[in-house]
């Protein structure tokens, strides 16, 4: 049952699974621990992306099928492309709407919303 290549794939998939799930957990923990929206966004957009991406890659690798691996890679690519865009939009919207940074912040060089523009 436990032939060489079979075992290697299982180990690689397991490593990806454990790493991905731990990154996801730490992202959620960061969401809870960071003091304000903007710092929370760091946790969600980086660790969260890597966590879900690793899990998707694990699923693609487990199938041992080039089509499914490609599909998982496409999903990973979608995720990596969309996560920063949504984080960026949310940060921009929150800042323009006037949600403040945490008191720990040292600088804020972004001028506050001139007027509510409809551009996004």
């Amino acid at each position: 049952m436990s032939a060489g290549p079979d075992m290697l794939v299982a180990i690689a998939v397991s490593v990806l699974l454990v790493a991905g799930s731990i990154f996801s957990l730490l992202a959620a923990l960061g969401l809870l621990r960071f003091p304000d929206l903007y710092t929370r966004m760091h946790a969600a957009s980086k660790a969260g992306t890597v966590g879900s991406g690793f899990l998707l890659l694990a699923a693609g690798l487990h199938a041992l099928d080039i089509a499914i691996l490609l599909r998982a890679l496409a999903g990973f690519a979608f995720f990596v492309l969309t996560a920063p865009v949504s984080a960026h939009l949310l940060a921009k919207a929150a800042h323009q709407a006037g949600y403040k940074l945490t008191n720990l912040s040292v600088t804020d060089q972004l001028p506050l919303a001139k007027q509510k523009s409809d551009r996004l």
Partner: protein, 125 residues
């Protein structure tokens, strides 16, 4: 230890860890003093759900789940974009403005239970 034993152990571990992450994210959504915090929590919830689906795909052997995960990621992205536009259009709500100023008076970071709870009640009305 056989390959399937390793896999079943690691998938179980991943499911437990992801469940914990889901729980923490829900805590942030319930507490989250402002609307953008909750939107970010929902975004994170979708990301964790995608991870969940991928783990289920490995456990059950149905590779079709990967397509579901891709579709969910696209839908989640659109939802976040729509929420961001909504926040931009609505501006600062009066409740969260007061919650913000209260947080500014007592910047005890990590936990600010009083304004958070008050904000939640105000939000529900």
């Amino acid at each position: 230890m056989s390959a399937s034993a390793i896999l079943s152990f690691s998938t179980a571990f991943a499911l437990v860890t992801l469940s914990l992450g889901l729980l923490l994210t829900v805590a942030r959504i319930v507490r989250g003093p402002t609307l953008p915090d909750r939107v970010l929590g929902l975004d994170m919830l979708v990301a964790i759900a995608i991870g969940f689906i991928a783990v289920i795909a490995i456990r059950s052997g149905f590779n079709l789940y990967i397509d579901i995960a891709i579709a969910l990621s696209l839908v989640g992205f659109l939802a976040t974009v729509a929420f961001a536009r909504f926040i931009l259009a609505r501006g600062l709500s009066p409740e969260s403005a007061s919650a913000d100023s209260r947080a500014a008076i007592a910047p005890k970071r990590g936990k600010a239970p009083a304004p958070a709870r008050r904000q939640k009640k105000g939000g529900r009305r």
